[in-house]
Symmetry: C4
Subunit: 182 residues, 4 copies
């Protein structure tokens, strides 16, 4: 499979929504199940910092998860994610509905996911993103595969591209790609 | 030890039960012990997705664990695993009993385990599976050793072989091996 | 980027405060979010042992975190960290305020952090430290980049340099660098 | 540092106590601190299985920890460890006291630890063991350094040597080293 690590700044700058799967993207796919029925997930602080910086630019953010999880809801609330959709395995339909609500075309949306149920949304999005350990179907559908793993900076890597593109679009010469990219 | 990574699709298609150990197979062998007496285990979402897809084909699934753990019970219920057997270190006897109950021969069963108490069941099963970091006795007994580690896609890898074989058996040309394999 | 792994013992010995970020430095950046609203962080015992040995030499220690976290407070109390500052993303201002309170110049302070909000404090400190997986801006600002990762010995590595320098300054020939460095 | 991975079966067979540190040996050194004041540690199931097999041979087992932890107590109880000593940083004194109580010489004891406070006990023990990521002082003191990491099979590796030696001493030809070693 050829490397998929180059998207032009202009193409990143065209995006008006950053939607992403949760498990395997914001986490490494692990779910910690406790004997007291608590479900715990490991999120990554630098990903959260990137999402916060991106939110401050006004870009809408969305989490679309196939499962329903209290841990996801709590982390989303902490990061003030405006659109949190859970229990939807039909990711493309959910993404499409959200795009319509926001008055966007799919080709203005970034969608990021790791498994086969994400593949149609990855393929349909303006920039479809997956992660190094994604399922083959997700990797094949992706325009961009992050260098960093899910739950370990993959989301931050996409945030940094979008932040750099937003800075360049505002003519801010001090925010070059690389300055804040990990 | 020679590589053990090739089982023909026809042999996978012959299987009528997928039975597996829990610790080290569905997890990386870690057990999180809390000072409040909670026991937590880390499961892997893509493994669960694979088991769900396999369950939808009608193949019986079984978890056979040497320990008794609330975390295991909770995860098994979430994934709707029909046969959950805990506290049995005599894995082969437990597997045999289940096979008899289901009217199956042992050579129609996949059994997957990582430690020496799993070795007899691995050896007796139609396809005995172990994981890269399994104990020597388990590795020696195995017909197939996964590329991915326990708790990190090993179970999904076996699911994908079984799903591909099931698809091929139904003459579904769109479900080739590799399409959904990670 | 050129290696940044050499600081003279005399320069370490000049330091009068060891201040550090928490997430990504004392942890690997992971935050475990539970469905019961518990937030958990993974700290590293050898880091704690190093901080304890350093505290015994009389060197002031400070934790400066951009987030507010109960887990951080609990671990800080266990390790008897005298200065714990949370919810401050303006790390340099916070470090500066603490230095003034303690009657120190910034060039007598070690500051250690991993992300872009840490970069100004890393740059201004007498010895600015970052970790292998730090953000580019943090790495560029650093005088010293640890070999060991955040949450896995990076803090212990700095402790060991400071302990060795303190031992040498007291003419203790038995406490050479390397004796207790990991 | 030269490899330290060869101890003769006869020397393992001479041992009458297996004493070990907890953090960094039975775990990877991580401690999970929750905002609800729960402290959690990750233990490794195959280590526990090895300790159980060893206990069945009648060899006394001891855990000697510098910290006091509820998680340690709970795991020790689950594994029925007969001698659990916590809050003792003077490991050698604690080991010595236990040896006297059991009527043993130190050269009949295996002691396993990873940090500088373990080094004197490692040096004094009949077989002193450390782990690949141990502190330099611990590694220098050790007779044997495991291949597998703390919390990931290091204890099992030592158990397997002791089990193999016990089997050979009983003239059991079926229990050769390697049969159950990971």
């Amino acid at each position: 499979m050829k490397p998929k690590s180059r998207i032009s700044p202009a193409r990143w700058a065209h995006m008006r929504l950053f939607a992403m799967d949760v498990d395997g993207i914001l986490t490494d796919g692990g779910v910690y199940v406790g004997s007291d029925n608590t479900e715990t997930k490991r999120f990554y602080i630098p990903d959260g910092l990137g999402l916060g910086l991106l939110r401050d630019t006004g870009l809408p953010l969305a989490w679309i998860s196939g499962r329903i999880s209290g841990a996801t809801s709590i982390r989303a609330a902490e990061l003030k994610i405006p659109h949190v959709i859970q229990g939807r395995r039909d990711k493309l339909t959910a993404l499409n509905e959200l795009a319509v609500t926001l008055g966007l075309e799919l080709d203005q949306c970034v969608y990021m996911g790791d498994d086969i149920i994400d593949a149609p949304a990855i393929r349909a999005a303006g920039i479809g993103v997956s992660v190094p350990h994604g399922a083959k179907g997700a990797l094949a559908a992706a325009d961009y595969i992050t260098r960093r793993p899910g739950g370990g900076g993959a989301v931050r890597e996409v945030c940094d591209h979008l932040l750099a593109a937003a800075g360049a679009a505002r003519g801010n010469p001090g925010r070059k790609p690389g300055t804040i990219r990990r």
